[in-house]
Amino acid sequence: MTRARVLGAGVAGLCVATELVARGCKVSVVDPAPRPGPHGCSWWAGGMLAPFCEGEAAEEPVVRLGREAAGWWRRQGVAVEGRGTLVVTLGRDRRELDRFARRTEGHRMLDEAALAALEPELAGRFDRALYFPDEAHLDPRAALGHLRDRLAGEGVAFAAEPGGPADLTFDCRGLAARDVLPDLRGVKGEMAVLRAPEIRLTRPVRLLHPRFPLYVVPRGDGRFMLGATQIESDERVRRVRSVLELLSAAYALHPAFGEAELVEIGADARPAFPDNLPRLGRRGDTIHVNGLFRHGFLLAPALARMAAEAASDGTRPELWHEDHG
């Protein structure tokens, strides 16, 4: 039985550990923190499984591999809401919606009535919207906790320090792996969680804006996660300007957000390679899984599968980088 050690218990590490256990490996997970929490950038994720929308700016593998995500998370027993995504613009940016439609697939344009029927909360606020019916979302913190507890229940050891010997190590440390992957960089994202029980949005909504793009993800219980900032920086500081932008954009999406309770503000830096695509690679007995950028929950399932396959049959999957191996 292969003894595998996974470094890092963020979304990448937990997905890799899950795939390895499924293939009969004896797995241990090394992470300084005992449980998923605010120390890792997965904690601050939006949890949108939106491969088609991401295709607007991301390259083709993100769209294709991301389509595995919703099914994978469901098979692990994680609650996945398959209610699609809505994309809207404010009046004077309406041509942005046509551009977004041109650059993506898997959508249809809704008129005002169809939008009102689908998401009554937006009735009368937007005269049209792009609807991506096959997209989904999940609660990232619940998903991380679920994987972690199930792995522990299956005998996976979680420890702050490496224990016994391992045949293979899977380095899923994210930005912390810059010691061995020097072309990793941090891309900062900021988020806020609001509680606005009177707003009854049931699916993620993206507001296109040339300067202040926004997404709003329902988290249930009247809570909404706001996000979208993307800044070339590895700092984890919560800056006023970004929060102002997020909150202003949310207010423009729906004025009732102005009365919302501000539950949480977070910021973290996500690991990215220069092409913003994830990479797998092997160096000795270590397989690297890194650079998931803003696509952690979307791409970790596919990357985990590919890493486990590479380990078991020696194949070199796509996104495999020799210079890391």
Binding site: A57, A58, E59, R102, R103, L184, R185, G186, K188, P210, R211, I231, E232, S233, D234, E235, V237, R239, R241, A269, A272, P274, D275, N276, L277
Partner: protein, 256 residues
């Protein structure tokens, strides 16, 4: 083209924001041969030079770096940002932006002149982002600027040259000052037109970064800039109302 005594091979300058990835940015520079990269330092600066990894990627492009004060809304902010940029990029060059209107991102002419004076006195070589206003241009030159960067249209709009008369006038008033049309360009044809009008270079960002294929668009702009420059140097014909056949009509009977 010489800017503050430095010879620049390409008359195309590109901004470095909003690309799908740093790799896509690099490809746009390679395919276009753009000679200058503008870099925003303000937002990415943070504590402890948190944006250093991205700046290293920009430095690796091997082009002249022109840091900017994008996002600054007062002379004081802009001066502070310029000093930070000088330290970070080890250059006296600064593209000076002082925004006076949050919605249109229109320059604040008063803050711009004030900051230009302070920075010039401090040894900076200032590239002011300005309007096509001739009086403002005159004040900026008096403040010590040796290059002007008038807008084509508001930042990020892609509207092209919205005040052609104003831009022609500005060019004609200061024939010896290097001038770069900065901001508002959406299509290569607009860049070509600016060059045909005698502008020395163009600077753009969104039109390339937000194109479906940024590298192809960057190359399109590079070719347009070259075409426009060639046309300008070639002394174009004057338009006229009367048709003037290029082949003499007198011999026509023999051809039929």
């Amino acid at each position: 083209m010489r800017l503050y005594g430095t010879e620049i091979a390409s008359r195309l300058m590109l901004g470095t924001a909003q690309y799908p990835s740093p790799a896509a940015l690099g490809e746009a520079f390679r395919r276009s041969g753009a000679g200058i990269a503008t870099v925003s330092v303000r937002r990415e600066a943070g504590g402890e030079r948190a944006g250093a990894a991205f700046w290293d990627l920009i430095r690796e492009l091997g082009v002249q770096i022109l840091p900017n004060t994008a996002g600054c809304h007062s002379a004081r902010e802009a001066v502070t940002t310029a000093r930070m940029a000088r330290e970070l990029f080890d250059t006296n060059w600064i593209k000076l932006e002082v925004i006076g209107h949050a919605d249109t991102l229109q320059p604040d002419p008063f803050g711009l002149v004030e900051a230009a004076r302070i920075l010039t006195d401090d040894g900076f070589q200032v590239f002011p982002y300005t309007t096509e206003d001739v009086v403002l241009a005159d004040r900026l030159l008096a403040a010590g600027c040796e290059v002007l960067m008038p807008w084509g249209a508001p930042i990020g709009t892609g509207l092209g040259l919205t005040n052609i008369y104003g831009l022609r006038t500005l060019r004609a008033q200061f024939p010896d000052v290097p001038m770069v049309v900065d901001a508002g360009l959406g299509l290569p044809s607009q860049a070509a037109m600016a060059m045909e009008m005698g502008y020395d270079a163009v600077l753009l960002n969104t039109a390339v970064a937000k194109a479906g294929d940024p590298a192809a668009m960057a190359e399109g702009f590079a070719r347009a800039v070259e075409a426009g420059r060639l046309a300008c140097e070639a002394d174009p014909m004057e338009p006229r109302d009367m048709a003037a056949p290029s082949t003499p009509v007198i011999g026509r009977a023999f051809l039929e």
